[in-house]
Symmetry: C2
């Protein structure tokens, strides 16, 4: 039986494993595909403190080296279900079931894509799904923002302080974001709203994005916007279907400040949980706490069995 | 007027500045003495993900380089008081007052010292104040733990899974830690309790600590314990006297999940706030959220003034 199973091999998962192993817990990382999570597909990361500017794959190699230095065990398998029971927790995977005392879920989340031409081709080279991560790369340049929900409007407000001009594209004639956010976005002077418009195609060349073609839904007329960046905010999917704990309506796991989920012994950290910000920095902060609390949970279990024996 | 004043130049403060500056906020870091915070005086750090093993000063140099890369403004001054008012927030310092829209407090905390001979001489070379940070350096070795409160007992339980043997020294004949923690520590088989004992002296040589001399309070007899590490847990002092917001009874700042304090526009991150764990990883996670929320707070202010004008 393991002391701690970490689900996910991104920055959060690797940090949780480092903390759990250094705390003396028998630990394994279960990863579906390959280590790295979202950052493995990031072009340049400039906001993980200590690395002024580093490519996603390079940063991930540093994390991997760190995992190796603590001799972390890594198993490539997909967790299908977490079963709870008196004898601990059981991870059901494509391979043999894995028993453990605690679990730290660092399974991440994936931004949804819109499906326009060039969206994936230019992802990380002009197309982005995170203003906090990439906004600074477009300082004093024109960008497009796509989406009509709370996140899209918040991100547009955020970006408006950094970039030269924003074309905010939405397929309807108004945002569905909450009223107070609508007031805020209307106060920005460098945002041009392109209502009732569909996104046709990201334009670009070898250097990356150079523009965005949109189409007026009513007139059918297309318009080419000269932008260096395209920010797509059409939702984000957490990878949490394998666990049956309390979640919000989008499927993000609800935790307390100790990263504890509604299932005793199961903790969650990083992008997969309800959190104000999804960054490498926040994932490692969450994960350190989660592993620390997993260790404390085990001491609690052991203390309880000692009490039982002492009472006999 | 600044958009954001960051108080403290440790890992949290530098991370907050990176996020604030990349978000387009006019930002300054106010630091009392020198950048680095607690880690500048740490010997080796092996749990900040991405750096498998690095000296405290070297890690801090990486943080400093990062701050320079975003052109962070750093002013050496001691904040004496944060004044709140309709026109924003005013930092009173030894120099001119500094006006700002938001503040992120990353002023840290300092572990208390006991004052025994050799304590400071061997700090970072055998004497430690953090089990999560340094426990792993004493894997399968004997160590001493000093203290009788919740933290001392929790840390002893934590260390018991990693080290070979613990001598737990306390000047009274029982712990003042809560009952459940006392049960837990009694369930550990590799802890020897040295009750009613005072700490006399850390023994050691150029290689670091080799032992600890304790003295039985009643008999006056001394005993030399052969240990490689000495963990001192006699309390921790947050640097928060300059701000008049909600705090716990030890002076740690109380925040919500957005790192907001009880004063609008004032946020706190890292060691100075009430948090389950005090690490570089958690400080940067907190700080990223605090800066992100400071930016959102400013947008809120601007949205409100826009609404006011729109209503006229």
């Amino acid at each position: 039986m393991y002391d701690c199973v970490v689900i996910g091999g991104g920055p959060g998962g690797i940090c949780a494993a480092i903390y759990a192993i250094r705390a003396g817990l028998k630990t394994v990382i279960l990863e579906k595909l390959g280590v790295g999570g979202q950052i493995a597909v990031s072009d340049i990361i400039e906001n993980y403190p200590g690395f002024p500017s580093i490519s996603g794959p390079d940063l991930m190699r540093n994390f991997e080296d760190h995992a190796k230095s603590v001799k972390a065990e890594l198993v490539f398998t997909n967790v299908k279900k977490i079963e709870t029971g008196d004898e601990g927790l059981v991870m059901h995977t494509a391979k043999d079931p894995i028993k453990t005392k605690t679990v730290v879920i660092c399974s991440g989340a994936e931004p949804k894509h819109l499906g326009f031409k060039g969206e994936m081709e230019f992802m990380g080279r002009g197309v982005s799904t995170c203003g906090t991560c990439d906004g600074n790369f477009y300082r004093n340049k024109p960008v497009a923002v796509i989406g009509g929900g709370d996140t899209a409007v918040k991100e547009s407000i955020f970006l408006s302080r950094i970039v030269d001009k924003i074309y905010h594209i939405h397929r309807r004639d108004r945002f569905r974001a909450e009223k107070v956010l609508q007031d805020r976005i209307m106060s920005r002077e460098n945002i041009e709203f392109c209502w009732k418009s569909n996104v046709e195609e990201a334009l670009g060349d070898d250097s990356g994005v150079t523009g965005l073609r949109i189409k007026d839904i009513e007139s059918g007329k297309t318009r080419d916007l000269a932008v260096d960046g395209i920010f797509v905010f059409v939702g984000i999917n957490p990878n949490t279907s394998f666990v049956d704990c309390k979640k919000d309506d989008q499927g993000f796991i609800i935790t307390d400040v100790n990263m504890a989920t509604s299932i005793p012994g199961v903790f969650a950290a990083g992008d997969c949980r309800v959190t104000p910000l999804r960054q490498v920095s926040t994932a490692v902060g969450d994960a350190a706490i989660a592993a620390f609390k997993a260790d404390e949970y085990i001491s609690e279990l052991e203390g309880r069995s000692y009490e039982k024996v002492a009472k006999l």
